[in-house]
């Protein structure tokens, strides 16, 4: 290649590319230069001076992490002068870090209980440090042995170890002030929840006025822990556990599909999760869920044995007995009396087998996945584009000139998608438009924040579209060439005049126009939408509008442009792909819309696809109460039945004649079941997940909870099918199921298990016996997964769908309907827009210590439009109580602001509250039960006195 240059390092010729720093070039070539502040995921910094080298023809010893390579450069990493500088640097570092062990010749021999002839304090020993054997400082001193004159003297800082915050322990006595953590927080995450404090010899990492992380705006993503080279920052859970081995797999908490390296100890417990630095979906990032939410797989409360109901009581049984009981109980309920509910942590293979079982063995189309409570957000995309899927990749967002996020609490629910957006906004290369009646983290980063009245998002999007059409901002070349249905769409936009939309949504007309211009004119623009504030039934319109906006402005099929639906559930995309949906069969084909696909499937399966309509999860439990559905098979225990989105789930289950549940834990569902199977969690499974960017990623078995006699849902479904005498369920493991999927689902053609293991990024690193940041040490090869539709092996990946054509050739623009504001119950005249942010500027939270833990407390503040406040005879600072129809009451004070649209009450809680709640929860799997922030009707009345907050 033309842009390759050659440099010489320690006499070895190294070919590299311009723009790289010397330390990177050396590492790539397998030549180790010690470093402590440098991290491959971050910008060069040059603080620790451990990586100094000598350059021929240049004076002094420059730091190789900030020195760009130059053609013909001759680098000497082992020169006397450089080594001397490093020795002094390390000596100085060790003068403030407990180093009794680091400078001892017995460093590799001692155990925790050994009597130390050097009288090193127990707390100062390496063996009692949580980062022992994962410590880069220890490795570096091994590489660079120190001959200290008085090896046991050092200045111990004597600081209190911060252990009261959720998830994190911070021991700044061990900090070497490399600033990796503060840079990660600032540069990678855009939060700046920690910074450098004081100066000169007192410099340390800290928060404003030494506050806890709950008060400093921390999102508990763990990025600082992942880069910390010493024991200063550690995860609280399993703090002292050492990994026996590691395994790369996919996080099961949300549709981003982060590749993580899981550390597993000698007892087969998953003890730590480290996001993979070079994974295409997460680029070394994770969030509080993925980093800290895996503990439930090790839980003692896991179900251990199959249970069968005998004489009204659940009793332990063998697997054979339970399978026979399930088969016998399900057999009489074939046809529409049967329903299948899978969970979003099921693999593609399990989901495929589940719907095949329901359709071919039971003859029912009532199949759904528990997280799919908002199918509307992809139905509209299918109407226009042909697929129930988004069109772009996550990290393309860094290249978008404009991003519009509609009603999605993205930084909590699909956290990592927010990272490229926040970075680009901070770098000034991106304009962010947020459409949300709630205040969420991203509204802070928005250049335009539109706050429509809850439930009027589709109207607002229609207004934006009409504004684009009316002002001649549409890309007519693209529309004419690539889309049909333009005239019908434009005709249906009749009612969406700027004034009408402004009146309906409460968003000023000029702001709508401004947003429309930014989205249409900025350059490649992305549209992300969740529909959190929408009312059921309007989401399909919303997603049609989203697709139409993208098509009309030509924002599909090019880098940085596209749409992404923001749903919940790790494998929601897989569920749509696998046809785990009443209306569609595998391959994004509607049962009634594509008879050929139905025929083909029927002949492949050896049984016809049933034609009768099945119920989706929002109606399933109504149907059981009505007696239409008599038997159910529920996979996993992850139905979000607490939040009411699926109606009265437990009442529905009570009405069943026969319920089979697989579950990792006992729950209200298993209590009602007739047969219960102990299910495997994602950590025990092999299979694939498909993420929000349609990337099929391999899930590899991480560990096996030894207390539990569990099997995967695939095994359970196949065994029941076998017991019922069905053919076509005798696969030899998930790879064979994937083979069948690749035949049945055209988008998965070319994907196989073997190929998924071959598709990887090999990163050349220095040998592992030399110090490496954990994230780098784990990064030898990363399985990148395959995005569907997948290119033939060997071809370079094509990340954007629809570059040349849409699924059916052209995009079919759909006419859109005007959905007026939801009707207001006069009892509850206002809408509560409940948002959540990391930190609210202008309001200091308080922290109280309950037991041993910090809890954040703050008085609630209800922000009202002055007109609403005047009507209710409320003024700034008045104590009020807000009551929702379900009877929950919150107390707080009133604040007035014109920025809140009439009819809306805005309330902001702190992310810290959620972090505490999740961290202190007794639930085995608390992350899965985080309630979504939905708008709710509310009544506000003056209260005697405020009791909220401290």
């Amino acid at each position: 290649m033309a842009d390759e240059i050659t440099i010489t390092i320690d006499g070895q010729e190294v070919t590299t590319t311009p723009g790289k720093m010397v330390v990177q070039a050396a590492n790539d070539a397998g030549i180790y230069i010690p470093y402590l502040c440098y991290h491959p995921g971050m910008k060069p910094y040059g603080a620790c001076r451990m990586c100094v080298v000598e350059i021929e023809g240049q004076r002094g010893t420059p730091a190789s992490c900030t020195l760009p390579v130059r053609d013909g450069m001759v680098v000497n990493t082992k020169g006397d002068e450089a080594v001397k500088v490093r020795d002094t640097t390390l000596d100085l570092l060790l003068s403030e870090h407990p180093h009794g062990c680091l400078t001892c010749h017995r460093i590799d021999l001692c155990g925790p209980q050994d009597i130390c002839l050097r009288h090193v304090d127990v707390v100062d020993r390496c063996v009692t440090c949580p980062k022992n054997e994962r410590c880069e400082l220890k490795d570096t001193t091994r590489f660079h042995p120190q001959e200290l004159v008085s090896p046991l003297t050092y200045q111990y800082r004597n600081l209190q170890v911060e252990t009261k915050d959720p998830f994190y322990d911070r021991d700044y006595n061990l900090c070497i002030v490399c600033a990796r953590c503060t840079r990660a927080c600032d540069e990678l995450r855009g939060d700046v929840a920690i910074g450098m404090t004081e100066r000169a010899g007192q410099v340390l990492v800290g928060t404003v006025m030494g506050d806890s992380l709950l008060e400093s705006g921390c999102e508990f993503c763990g990025a600082c822990i992942d880069v910390c080279p010493v024991g200063a920052l550690t995860e609280t859970a399993y703090k002292w556990e050492r990994p026996a081995r590691t395994e790369q797999s996919i996080c099961a908490e949300c549709p981003v599909g982060c590749t993580m390296t899981y550390e597993v100890n000698h007892w087969e417990r998953v003890v730590r999760a480290v996001p993979e630095l070079n994974a295409p979906a997460n680029m070394g990032q994770a969030c509080f869920k993925g980093k800290f939410g895996f503990e439930y797989v090790n839980d003692k409360r896991r179900l251990r044995k199959p249970l069968v109901r005998r004489n009204g009581e659940l009793q332990e049984a063998t697997w054979e007995e339970a399978i026979a009981a399930a088969a016998e109980g399900l057999a009489p309920h074939r046809g529409s009396a049967f329903a299948m509910m899978a969970n979003p942590r099921n693999t593609n293979e399990e989901l495929y087998a589940a719907q095949k079982f329901a359709r071919t063995v039971m003859g029912s189309n009532a199949v759904d996945v528990a997280s799919n409570d908002r199918p509307g957000i992809v139905e509209g995309l299918q109407d226009v584009f042909g697929y129930f899927a988004g069109t772009m990749t996550i990290w393309e967002l860094a290249d978008s000139a404009a991003v519009m996020v509609v009603s999605a609490n993205l930084t909590e629910e699909q956290n990592v998608i927010g990272v490229p957006i926040k970075r680009a906004v901070r770098a000034g290369t991106q304009q962010l438009i947020v459409v949300d009646s709630r205040e969420v983290e991203l509204t802070r980063y928005a250049s335009i924040w539109l706050r429509p009245y809850p439930g009027t998002d589709p109207v607002l999007l229609g207004g934006l579209l009409r504004c684009i059409v009316d002002n001649g901002l549409a890309d007519m070349d693209f529309v004419n060439e690539r889309a049909e249905g333009w005239d019908e769409l434009v005709a249906s936009l009749g009612p969406f005049t700027l004034d009408a939309v402004a009146a309906e949504t409460g968003v000023p007309a000029e702001r709508i126009e401004q947003a429309a211009r930014v989205y249409a004119e900025a350059g490649p623009a992305a549209l992300l939408f969740g529909g959190d504030n929408s009312v059921g039934g309007t989401r399909r319109t919303m997603s049609r509008l989203v697709a139409a906006l993208a098509v009309v402005t030509g924002n599909v099929g090019r880098l940085g442009a596209g749409v992404l639906p923001l749903y919940q559930g790790a494998n929601g995309q897989g569920a749509w792909d696998m046809g785990l949906w009443p209306a569609a069969v595998p391959g994004h084909n509607l049962i009634h819309g594509s008879p050929e696909a139905r025929e083909t499937l029927g002949s492949l399966w050896g049984a016809p696809v049933p034609l009768e309509d099945g119920s989706g999860n929002r109606h399933m439990f109504d149907r059981t109460r009505e007696g239409g559905i008599k038997a159910m098979l529920m996979l996993g225990d992850h139905v979000h039945y607490e939040d009411g989105t699926l109606g009265d789930v437990l009442g529905g289950l009570d009405a069943l004649e026969f319920l089979v549940a697989t579950s990792a834990f006992s729950s209200e569902i298993t209590e009602r079941a007739h047969v219960v199977f102990p299910a495997e969690t994602w950590a025990e499974k092999t299979g694939t997940y498909t993420n929000v960017e349609r990337r099929v990623q391999p899930l590899r078995k991480v560990a096996k909870n030894k207390r539990v006699d569990s099997r995967s849902d695939l095994d359970v479904v196949c065994a029941i099918a076998g017991a019922m005498g069905a053919q076509g369920f005798s696969w030899d493991g998930p790879p064979q199921v994937l083979e069948e999927i690749a035949q049945v689902v055209p988008e998965y053609a070319g994907i196989s298990w073997e190929r998924l293991l071959r598709e990887r990024l090999d990163i050349v690193t220095t040998p592992t016996n030399e110090p490496q940041p954990t994230q780098v040490a784990y990064t030898g090869n990363v399985l990148t997964g395959l995005q569907w539709p997948c290119a033939p092996e060997g071809a370079s990946d094509e990340p954007a769908l629809f570059v040349d054509r849409f699924r059916n050739g052209k995009a079919t623009l759909q006419p859109v309907a005007w959905h007026p504001r939801p009707e207001v119950d006069p009892q509850f005249p206002l809408m509560l827009a409940h948002g959540r942010v990391l930190l609210e500027p202008g309001r200091k939270p308080n922290v109280t210590v309950v037991g041993k833990r910090n809890r954040v407390q703050r008085e609630e503040r209800f922000v009202l439009n002055p007109a609403d406040a005047a009507a209710a005879k409320l003024g700034e600072g008045d104590a009020v109580a807000a009551t929702t129809p379900d009877g929950t009451e919150r107390r707080g004070t009133v604040a007035l602001s014109d920025a809140v649209p009439p009819g809306v009450v805005s309330l902001t809680t702190l992310f810290g509250e959620l972090a505490v709640e999740v961290d202190s929860s007794d639930r085995p799997d608390p992350m899965n039960h985080i309630a979504r922030l939905n708008a709710a009707p509310v009544r506000i009345a003056a209260a005697g006195r405020s009791t909220g907050g401290a």
Binding site: G195, T197, V208, M209, G217, E439, Y445, P841, E876, T908
Partner: protein
């Protein structure tokens, strides 16, 4: 960090620390407004930097509170606790040192129950060392609320300090 204006318009009651800090920051005379200039303006107004002032600086400059804190904590000139009501300075320049500043200093420190420079527990006196008050012919020198006093002795210093305290008590009662 961000360009969004304060989300709720920010309610700060008139005369509160937050409101005073905000006004001082907004009305600062410097042509280039930085984190540092804003911190100085806030400290000039309030005499110290409470959390509210740090938070207001972060809002006005679009930085995170932790970034502002990184700057504020760097400079020893900023203080983060309310100063005492009266400032007593003891000069320990070379001339004062030679002519007996040390016994005065040590005597005052122990009289006020301090470990060195600092504020008394009752919040009445801030004791500071001054490198030179500029009145060497009158050494040893002190200053009481910026009023210079020369040819000091320990007794004289204690009398003056107690006088200030007594006047304070009287005013309060």
């Amino acid at each position: 960090m961000t360009t969004t204006p304060r989300p709720h318009g920010g309610s700060a009651s008139p005369g509160s620390l937050r409101e005073r800090a905000r006004r001082a920051i907004e009305e600062q005379p410097s042509t280039t407004v930085t984190v540092l200039s804003s911190l100085l303006a806030a400290q000039d107004e309030l005499g110290y930097l409470p959390y509210e002032a740090v938070d207001e600086v972060s809002l006005c400059t679009g930085s995170s509170v932790n970034e502002v804190w990184a700057v504020a904590s760097f400079y020893p000139n900023f203080r983060f606790t309310a100063p005492a009501r009266h400032l007593v300075e003891v000069c320990w320049g070379p001339t004062c040192h030679v002519l007996g500043a040390q016994p005065i200093l040590q005597g005052l420190v122990s009289h006020l129950g301090l470990d060195g420079e600092g504020d008394t527990e009752d919040g009445s006196i801030s004791l500071k060392y001054n490198t030179c008050l500029g009145v060497c012919p009158h050494a040893p020198a002190m200053s009481f609320d910026h009023e210079l006093a020369g040819h000091m002795s320990l007794d004289e210093a204690v009398t003056r300090v107690e006088g200030i305290r007594a006047a304070d008590m009287e005013r309060e009662s």
